[in-house]
C-alpha cells in the first residue's frame, strides 16, 4: 500500500530536479501567503463579489493584465534559463530533455498565455470606452472568456510540477507529439491547456466583433471609429475564422492519442505532414492577429503625441482588413521544405503580398509624425522604438519568404531572430505602449516616468544585443532547438553576447515591476482623466471610469470626436440622466472555468471518470444559465447623480 502510494506520487509529481523542488516550495509558499493575507484582511468576500464574479469589462481587463504579466514572468524565466544554457559551449546547466521542455513551454506561454491575454486586456480596457459603450455586447460571455483562459493557463503551468511538461515544441508537430514518441501527460497538458483557453479566445473574438459593430455611440459611423477599434475588429475577424482550425487540429491530435485514431500517425494511413499543414493554417493567422492590435495602438499613440489626425485613415482601414484576409493565404511558408515546388511558388507570392499593406501602415505612421508637434512621452517612445525594429523584422520575413532561400534559413537561428524581431519589436512593444498609454485611464493614476525610461532603454538595448547576433549565428549555420554546441563551431562569442542581451531585457522587466509598485505607492492622480490631451472618447470620462462608463452616452459627429469637442468648446453635456441598464454579476463563469479545469486535468491524465464529471459540471453551468432569466438590473438616477458628483464626471 505505502509502496504503491509512493510509486504513484513519484510518477504524479515531477521529481529529482532542484529547479522543480524550488518551484514546488515557492508555489506552496505563495498559496499559503495568499490565503493568509485574504483571511487576515477579511478579503474573501471582496475578492468574490468584486472580482471573481464581475462582468465589468474594465475589471476583466485588469485581471487579464495581471495574469499576462505573471505569464510574461514565467516565459521570461524560461528564456533566461535557455540563454544561460547556451551562453558557453558544452554547458551542462540544463540536460537536453529539460531544454526541450523549456523551449516548448516558453513558446507556448509567450504566444498563447502572454501575448493573447495581454491583447485581450487591451481589448477589454479600451474598446467599450473608445466607442462610447457601457459594456461589451455580452458581458457574461466576456467573464466566461476570461475564466476559461485563466484555468487553461493554470492547467498548462501545472505541468511543471505535476506529471511533467510537454516537450515537442510550441506547435507540437506530429509524429513527435503522438503517443508513440511522447507518452504521458505532458502533451495532453499542452492540448487541454490550449483547448480550454481557446474557447475563451473564440468567445472574445465574437464578443468584440459584435461590440464594435453594434454598440457604437450614436453618430459614430464605422469610418469615424478610432483606429485601435478598427484593429481590434480586424483581429477579431481572424480569431473567428482561425481558432476553430486550432480546436480541430488539437482535437484530432488528442483523438489520436486517446482513442488510437490514425490522423497524424506514421502507421495506419495517417499523415504527420497534415498536422503541420493544419497547425499553420491557424498559426500564421495567429501571429497576425496578435500584431494587428499593436498596429492599432501605434496609430492612436502616434496621432495623440503628434497632435495630428492619423494620416491616411482610409488606407489604414483598408490595410488592416486586407491583412486579416490575406493572413489566411500564406501558411505554407512555414513548411516550404515539405511541400511541392509549385505550391511553394504560390505561397511565396502571397507571403510577399502581405508585406505591402504592412508597409503602407508604416508609411502612414511616419507621415503622421512628419511636421507634427511630437511629444516624447513613454507610450510614444515605445512606438518610435517599434518602427525600425519592425522594419528589420519585416525585411527578414521577406527574405525567408523567398522559398529557395528558405531552404537555407529554415530552422536556423536566422528564423528565431526573425520572429522575435516581429513578436518583441512589434507585439510586445506595441502592447507595452498601449498599457503605458491607457494605464491612467483604467487605474486613475499615472506611472512613474523615470523608472519607465530605465525599463525602456534596458528592453531596447537588450533586444538588439540579443537578436542581432542571432542573425549572424543563423548564417553561420547554428540550428534552432539545440541544447548545446562545441567550441569548434565558432558560435561561442555571439552566443555569449546574445545571453547578455537576454539578461538586460530581464532587468527591463524588473524595472517595470518596480515602476508599477512604486507608482501604486506614490499615487499621482493628477490629470488622470485626460493626461495626454487625448483625441478619442475614452478620455472624455473620469479615470477610473464608473461601472457604467458613460453617465450620458455621447453623440459623436467627427473622427477623433473628443479632440474636436475640446477644440470647439463643446465638452459640456446636459446632466439629463436616465436609469442605466446593467448586467448582474454572476459566479457561473468562474465555476464553469473550474469545471473546465477538472475536465482538462482528468483528460490529461486519461482519467475518463474525472473528465466526465468535469464535462457534466460544464454542461450543468450552461443549462443553469440558460434557465436564468434574471440577468440584469437598472441603476436608478439618484445613484448615478451621487456617483457622478463623487468622481467629478460629466464635465
Amino acid at each position: 500500500m505505502i509502496e504503491s502510494i509512493k510509486n504513484f506520487s513519484s510518477d504524479f509529481f515531477v521529481t529529482g530536479d532542484p529547479l522543480i523542488y524550488g518551484a514546488d516550495v515557492s508555489i506552496v509558499l505563495v498559496m499559503v501567503a495568499i490565503i493568509f493575507v485574504l483571511t487576515y484582511f477579511k478579503k474573501w468576500k471582496w475578492l468574490w463579489s468584486e472580482w471573481l464574479t464581475t462582468v465589468d469589462h474594465k475589471k476583466i481587463g485588469i485581471m487579464y493584465l495581471i495574469a499576462s504579466l505573471l505569464m510574461l514572468f514565467r516565459g521570461g524565466v524560461d528564456a533566461i534559463l535557455m540563454r544561460t544554457q547556451l551562453a558557453f559551449p558544452n554547458m551542462d546547466f540544463l540536460p537536453s530533455d529539460k531544454y526541450n521542455e523549456i523551449f516548448t513551454t516558453h513558446g507556448t506561454i509567450m504566444i498563447l498565455f502572454m501575448a493573447m491575454p495581454l491583447m485581450f486586456a487591451l481589448f477589454n480596457m479600451v474598446v467599450p470606452l473608445q466607442i462610447g459603450a457601457r459594456d461589451v455586447a455580452y458581458p457574461f460571455l466576456n467573464a466566461v472568456s476570461f475564466w476559461t483562459f485563466f484555468f487553461g493557463a493554470m492547467l498548462f503551468n501545472l505541468s511543471f510540477v505535476i506529471g511533467g511538461s510537454p516537450d515537442a515544441g510550441w506547435l507540437s508537430y506530429a509524429p513527435l507529439s503522438e503517443t508513440q514518441f511522447s507518452e504521458g501527460p505532458g502533451q495532453n497538458y499542452y492540448i487541454w491547456g490550449i483547448q480550454i483557453s481557446g474557447i475563451g479566445s473564440l468567445a472574445s473574438g465574437i464578443n468584440f466583433l459584435v461590440t464594435i459593430l453594434k454598440m457604437r455611440a450614436p453618430g459614430m459611423k464605422l469610418m469615424k471609429m478610432p483606429m485601435f477599434s478598427w484593429s481590434v475588429l480586424s483581429s477579431c475577424i481572424i480569431i473567428i475564422f482561425a481558432f476553430p482550425i486550432l480546436t480541430v487540429t488539437l482535437g484530432l491530435l488528442f483523438i489520436d492519442r486517446y482513442f488510437g485514431a490514425n490522423f497524424f500517425t506514421l502507421a495506419g494511413g495517417g499523415n504527420p505532414m497534415y498536422y503541420v499543414n493544419l497547425i499553420w493554417m491557424w498559426g500564421h493567422p495567429e501571429v497576425y492577429l496578435v500584431v494587428l492590435p499593436a498596429f492599432g495602438v501605434f496609430s492612436e499613440v502616434v496621432a495623440t503625441f503628434s497632435k495630428k489626425k492619423i494620416f491616411g485613415y482610409k488606407s489604414m482601414v483598408f490595410a488592416l482588413l486586407s491583412i486579416s484576409l490575406l493572413s489566411f493565404f500564406t501558411w505554407v511558408h512555414h513548411f516550404f521544405t515539405m511541400a511541392d515546388y509549385k505550391v511553394d511558388a504560390f505561397f511565396a507570392i502571397t507571403t510577399m503580398a502581405i508585406a505591402i499593406p504592412t508597409g503602407v501602415k508604416v508609411f502612414n505612421w511616419m507621415f503622421t509624425m512628419f511636421r507634427g508637434r511630437i511629444q516624447m512621452k513613454p507610450p510614444m517612445l515605445w512606438t518610435i522604438a517599434f518602427i525600425p525594429t519592425f522594419l528589420v523584422g519585416g525585411a527578414t520575413g521577406v527574405m525567408l519568404a523567398v522559398a529557395p532561400a528558405d531552404f537555407q534559413y529554415h530552422n536556423s537561428y536566422f528564423l528565431i531572430a526573425h520572429f522575435h524581431q516581429v513578436l518583441i519589436g512589434g507585439v510586445v512593444f506595441g502592447f507595452f505602449s498601449g498599457i503605458y498609454y491607457w494605464w491612467p485611464k483604467i487605474f486613475g493614476f499615472s506611472l512613474n516616468e523615470k523608472l519607465g525610461l530605465w525599463a525602456f532603454w534596458l528592453w531596447n538595448i537588450g533586444f538588439y544585443v540579443t537578436f542581432m547576433p542571432q542573425y549572424a549565428l543563423g548564417f553561420m549555420g547554428m540550428p534552432r532547438r539545440v541544447s548545446t554546441y562545441g567550441w569548434d563551431m565558432g558560435w561561442a562569442p555571439l552566443n555569449f553576447i546574445s545571453t547578455i542581451g537576454a539578461f538586460l531585457m530581464g532587468a527591463g522587466f524588473i524595472f517595470q515591476v518596480w515602476q508599477i509598485v512604486y507608482s501604486i505607492k506614490h499615487r499621482n492622480k493628477e490629470g488622470a482623466a485626460d493626461p495626454w490631451d487625448g483625441r478619442t472618447l475614452e478620455w472624455s470620462i473620469p479615470s477610473p471610469p464608473p461601472e457604467y462608463n458613460f453617465a450620458i452616452i455621447p453623440k459623436v459627429s467627427e473622427q477623433d470626436d473628443w479632440w474636436y469637442k475640446k477644440q470647439k468648446g463643446l465638452t459640456k453635456v446636459k446632466e439629463d440622466y436616465k436609469p442605466i441598464h446593467m448586467p448582474k454579476n454572476s459566479g457561473i463563469p468562474f465555476i464553469m472555468g473550474g469545471f473546465w479545469f477538472i475536465t482538462g486535468f482528468g483528460l490529461t491524465f486519461e482519467w475518463t471518470w474525472m473528465g466526465i464529471i468535469g464535462l457534466i459540471g460544464v454542461a450543468t453551468s450552461i443549462v443553469v444559465r440558460h434557465l436564468d432569466n434574471d440577468t440584469d438590473y437598472y441603476i436608478p438616477v439618484d445613484e448615478i447623480e451621487r456617483t457622478e458628483a463623487r468622481i467629478g464626471g460629466t464635465r
Binding site: L213, I237, F241, I245, Y274, N277, L325, F328, D340, V343
Partner: protein, 99 residues
C-alpha cells in the same frame, strides 16, 4: 420595439413548404443519379456538389430568416468570407497534401 417588430417582413407557412420541397428534390436528384450510375464521374461530382450548395442557399433563404434579419448585411459579408475560408481550408489542404 413592438412597433418595430411589426414592420419586419414575416415568413409564411408557404415559404417553409417551398423550402422543404426544394430541399427534398435537391436530395433526391443526386441520390438517384449516384445510385443508378447515371452519369460519368467529373460531371456527376459537379452536379451532386452543386445540389448540396443549392440546398445550403435554400436553407438560409427559406428557413433561417436571413432576409428578415436586421443585420443581414454583416451576416452575408461574414458568410462570404466564411465560404472563402472554407474553400481555402478544404481546397488548400487537398492541394498542399496532394503530390
Amino acid at each position: 420595439m413592438t412597433t418595430e417588430k411589426h414592420t419586419e417582413h414575416h415568413s409564411s407557412f408557404q415559404s417553409y413548404v417551398t423550402g422543404f420541397l426544394f430541399s427534398i428534390v435537391l436530395t433526391i436528384i443526386p441520390l438517384v443519379l449516384v445510385l443508378n450510375d447515371m452519369l460519368e464521374n467529373p460531371l456527376l461530382l459537379v452536379i451532386i456538389l452543386l445540389a448540396a450548395c443549392f440546398q445550403f442557399v435554400i436553407q438560409i433563404y427559406y428557413f433561417m430568416h436571413l432576409r428578415e434579419n436586421k443585420n443581414r448585411g454583416y451576416i452575408v459579408l461574414a458568410l462570404i468570407v466564411g465560404i472563402i475560408i472554407v474553400v481555402t481550408v478544404v481546397g488548400g489542404s487537398a492541394w498542399v497534401m496532394n503530390f
